[in-house]
Symmetry: D2
Subunit: 136 residues, 4 copies
């Protein structure tokens, strides 16, 4: 069965907060990516296997922030595969705490053939062994 | 004269890269924020003065990524104030390297009165001493 | 019963790796601190309660690194309270993976009364409600 | 002329602070590493050239913290090569602000031949083109 969503619960770490007393907004993008990689593991895959010649650069990402998270808060991350094209995957993500919506985000990644340093990354079709296991 | 844009040049640090060999996408949001705070300093302000009772949480942020940045790359960050409403500021940001576009982003922040922990942040009008110095 | 040690298992996240393909060394200090805060929670305490007037700045920290950690590695963190003086706590920490030693570290923290910004932090005696619950 | 020390001035960024209102201690290790890589550039070298088959893992690092750094503080980093053996380099580092000592640290790195993932890193002699340019 292909995987199309993933949920996990996480606690805010001290080093994720800033002097305003809340989680720095850059961390929400990392929380979303943590969920993505866990979804791939759930599907029996790694997004970065040691010897792979393909990669998955992020081509777009966004978040809207509704409420702050604070040190030691426990919150839920829900990621779902919103759309798959031949060469890209788009995720949507919701963060919540005690059923209160904290933030919602989105991230689009592209499948590329790894190139020597400096060359522009070029999109390729997502391999069958991945589309068999991850689905919108 | 009110400030409406800011440019600076920066070098990629080792700890900003990841195992894919490029800058982790979460860093672009930090680069944009570095430019924001430098723009405020250019305007004679700090976005987080020690004793202020107002704060500036981010309410939305996004990036599109065109090309990767790598260790020790030198790149330019250009931030401009795209829009100011009574209670919010929206910035647009472009990253480039040797005149090649690397990424473009946007960030909206809201002016809020600081509240006891746990309370929902509430928007207030941007104080006059700030609108005198920062402008779209 | 006072708590004197804490163990947990953790997975390496993508954003913790660097272009050398391994976890950046600065993360080991964060892993050690994650264990510290979990130990305090285990003892029924928070190291940073919302309204507390005391704080716990780090006054020294060190690590020796034996083997690298890589993306998605699962590893163990073992923290123990090695020494408590009237005003300080010293922890020792070992990271291992499949019973292979990865790194060993140490961290000393001091109990201080929070001061207005800019003032030098001044050490105070560790309160009884903490020494009742955390012990070497 | 071989390079044996490096100084630079830097400003605390917002994302480097934590809820205690000061720079998180893990950042001091990154500041020290920033100085190291700048010292190598000053010597006409890169610590991580694209096609090199050698690497420089950190084998030990420590810091003592005397005073906190806060958002927008401007501080000085002074790194010097304290000792070079056949296979290792040890740096000592001092952070100061307005001639007040903030912290002092140390870091030892080893020269290794890059290995396939999972293999233990093995020390090799530091190449002549490096010992010609960096010295204790």
């Amino acid at each position: 069965m292909a995987v199309s969503e993933y949920r996990f619960t996480r606690r805010v770490q001290f080093y994720e907060t800033d002097v305003a007393g809340i989680v720095h907004f850059s961390w929400f993008f990392r929380y979303m990516e943590e969920a993505e990689h866990a979804l791939w593991r759930e599907a029996g895959l790694s997004i970065h296997p040691p010897d792979s010649d393909i990669g998955w650069p992020r081509i777009a990402s966004s978040f809207e922030f509704y409420r702050p998270l604070r040190f030691e808060d426990v919150f839920d991350v829900h990621l779902r595969v919103a759309e798959m094209t031949k060469k890209t995957i788009r995720y949507e993500c919701t963060l919540s705490k005690n059923d209160e919506k904290i933030a919602s985000g989105s991230m689009t990644i592209a499948c590329v053939r790894k190139k020597p340093q400096g060359a522009k990354l070029q999109g390729i079709e997502i391999p069958r062994e991945i589309t068999d296991r991850i689905t919108a």
